[in-house]
């Protein structure tokens, strides 16, 4: 019995089961068997993900270096394809259509517009959602009667399919719709650039702020009440408590929430595609890819690879420089 206590601590350190007597060697062996077990258990998931994600992506990259079959507008001949080098990328990034600048109106000429629209939507929606979500989270963190009703209600916009959200707000923003009547306006919401953009932004904020609020709320609930009590005792004002305690302590959860939302917003498709069909400068990169698919796979593959890289770079910046440690948060041990 006297060996029980050290054996336990050691067992915990090596994450082995408790009733064993782990000497150093048996702990190592345990690690090896656990490794084998892990690879067996993980194999189906990793193989399936390789088939449904890595294979198509590698395929897309290969496609992006091939010529699209079709009429060559310069010569009038039918081109069968073949290696294209970086032509498909130049087509989008340098706006080159068959060696000349892409004429306005073609899909090629819309690339930089779509890029800036995508980032505009992502930055504005995520900024609004963060502020609004933070506010909602602070309210929901308070103790009051009916709190669970509010927490259930915020799940409603989250659960509604985005396609339905798009149609719902399209109706709300119709010319004779409730939005114009409520505010005594006569705005053609989906008919011109800025109203259309704001209609999409408002719909997106409605739909996804709850997700943001719940993630921030979960972060807020990890802050012990005693910290606030202590600050109050020390005479910190409400604003000081917010900036000195709430913000720094909720920061890890907040950064992860912003990262998730940012990556989600950069691939925005459903709302603008259904509400405006990408008209009035609301075409995002995802919409441009989909528009391009039927005009040429390989060119679309190049564009989707660019989109993927852009999102990857943004994710990298967030994780590397802004400290959004999503993986760390997910792998660190559970109960705290």
């Amino acid at each position: 019995m006297s060996t029980e206590v050290p054996a336990r601590t050691q067992a915990k350190a090596a994450s082995t089961s408790r009733h064993q007597m782990p000497g150093r060697e048996s702990a190592d062996r345990k690690q090896v068997t656990q490794g084998r077990w892990a690879s067996v258990l993980l194999a189906p998931t990793l193989i399936l993900l390789a088939v449904v994600i890595i294979y198509p992506v590698v395929n897309a990259i290969i496609m992006s270096f091939q010529k699209d079959a079709g009429l060559d507008t310069a010569t009038g001949f039918f081109v069968q394809g073949g290696a294209a080098g970086f032509d498909n990328y130049a087509h989008w990034i340098a706006q080159q259509c068959n060696g000349v600048a892409c004429p306005p109106g073609t899909l090629g000429s819309q690339f930089w517009g779509a890029m800036s629209t995508t980032f505009f939507f992502a930055i504005v929606t995520v900024a609004l959602e963060t502020v609004l979500g933070f506010w909602m989270a602070i309210i929901m963190a308070r103790t009051f009667r009916g709190r669970s009703i509010v927490r259930a209600a915020v799940l409603v916009p989250w659960a509604i399919p985005t396609a339905v959200t798009a149609k719902l707000w399209f109706f709300i923003f119709a010319f004779e719709g409730i939005a114009n009547k409520l505010f005594g306006q006569q705005i053609l919401w989906t008919g011109s650039e800025w109203p259309a953009r704001w209609a999409i932004i408002i719909s997106d904020v409605w739909k996804t702020t709850p997700f943001m609020a719940l993630l921030i709320l979960a972060g807020l609930q990890l802050i012990p009440d005693e910290v606030y009590e202590a600050a109050k005792v020390d005479g910190a004002s409400a604003w000081q408590r917010f900036t000195q305690i709430t913000l720094p302590l909720v920061r890890p959860a907040l950064m992860v929430a912003i990262l998730f939302r940012m990556l989600d917003a950069l691939r925005m498709f459903d709302l603008p595609y259904i509400m405006t069909q990408g008209g009035n400068n609301t075409t995002t990169l995802s919409i441009l890819v989909v528009d391009q698919i039927r005009q040429g796979f390989n060119s679309a593959a190049a564009l989707s690879t660019i989109t993927f890289l852009v999102i990857f770079i943004v994710a990298f910046i967030f994780v590397r420089f802004l400290g959004a440690n999503a993986v760390g948060a997910a792998t660190s041990s559970g109960k705290k």
């Binding site: 408790r18 009733h19 993980l42 990793l46 799940l155 109706f171 004779e176 796979f297």
Partner: protein, 294 residues
């Protein structure tokens, strides 16, 4: 500060806090009401419009007026080219199979990530998280070409396979955080108390893991059910899912946007989800935020 003065400050503070409390409460209730209205009013408006006569589409009356079931009849009217029953069935098939595959495969991976110690754990988790954030368009282009060339366009598997790309990572990620929170020591205790490994699994682990798995299934099902981008590109008329159908709906009058019918269709698609979400509210919130903050 000595313990005595600390207690003194605390006691002195209580009446002050109590007075502030009531004023703060009023503001809290106003804020809660604003959140409730902001989240529920658009949804309420959809339901009201779904039950409103098409002639009063733009009637701004806030209550149920000119109530009719006609819009629901339009939704299912095959003569208008709407095949909503079929679309619903398609969505159930695609989202259902996707969820089952993701759960059956993902549960093993989640167990390994939550319970076992092995090299590259961090890398595997990173890969799975990255996969869940993967942009759908990057899959649509190569799959469009691949499925066209092997004749899979418009089949169920053409919708299920890409859906797995985002439901499986979500499933693994959520289940891992749930499993990590479970009291696995109980399994050992059951073994010590004389259970066989099988009994310990059936009587202890399974009942503990079932709610977590069920919650994860709901989250996976909702995300697959709500998918639009892939379904809009890779489905045919026969396999069209509800989200795609709603985006391109035919009404009783040609060339007029069938707002009321679309709202009726939206209501049909949304009500089951809303009920599911309200019933399992706590579990779903736990699942949504699992891993992101802990």
């Amino acid at each position: 500060m000595s313990a005595a003065t600390a207690t003194a400050t605390r006691t002195a503070e209580i009446p002050v806090r109590h007075k502030k409390y009531d004023w703060g409460m009023t503001r809290t209730y106003i804020a809660a009401a604003v959140i409730l209205i902001w989240c529920l009013a658009p949804f309420y408006w959809m339901v009201v419009t779904a039950f409103r006569d098409v002639g009063y589409t733009f009637d701004p009356t806030f209550f149920f007026t000119h109530v009719t079931w006609d819009n629901f009849a339009t939704v299912f009217d095959e003569r208008l080219g709407n095949h909503f029953a079929r679309n619903l069935l398609n969505s159930v098939i695609v989202a259902g199979i996707t969820t089952i595959v993701a759960l059956v495969v993902g549960v093993f991976a989640a167990y390994a990530l939550a319970r076992l110690n092995f090299r590259f754990k961090f890398a595997v988790m990173g890969f799975i998280l990255g996969a869940s954030m993967f942009p759908g368009v990057a899959l649509v282009t190569p799959l469009f070409q691949l499925f066209t060339s092997i004749g899979w366009m418009g089949t169920y598997q053409a919708l299920i396979i890409p859906s797995i790309s985002f439901t499986l990572p979500l499933t693994v990620y959520t289940l891992t955080s749930f499993f990590r929170e479970m009291p696995w020591e109980l399994e050992e205790s059951a073994r010590i108390d004389g259970c066989t490994q099988g009994q310990a699994f059936r009587k202890v682990i399974l009942p503990l893991a079932a709610p977590a798995t069920f919650t994860t299934a709901i989250l996976a099902f909702i995300s697959a059910w709500n998918e639009f981008l892939i379904a809009s590109q890779l489905s045919s008329d026969a396999t069209k899912t509800v989200t795609v159908a709603i985006a391109s709906f035919a009404g009783s009058q040609p060339h007029v946007e069938p707002y009321t019918a679309v709202m009726a269709a939206g209501t049909i698609v949304t009500i089951p989800l809303v009920i599911l979400v309200l019933v399992f509210q706590r579990k779903i919130v736990a699942g949504l935020t699992a891993g992101a903050v802990k």
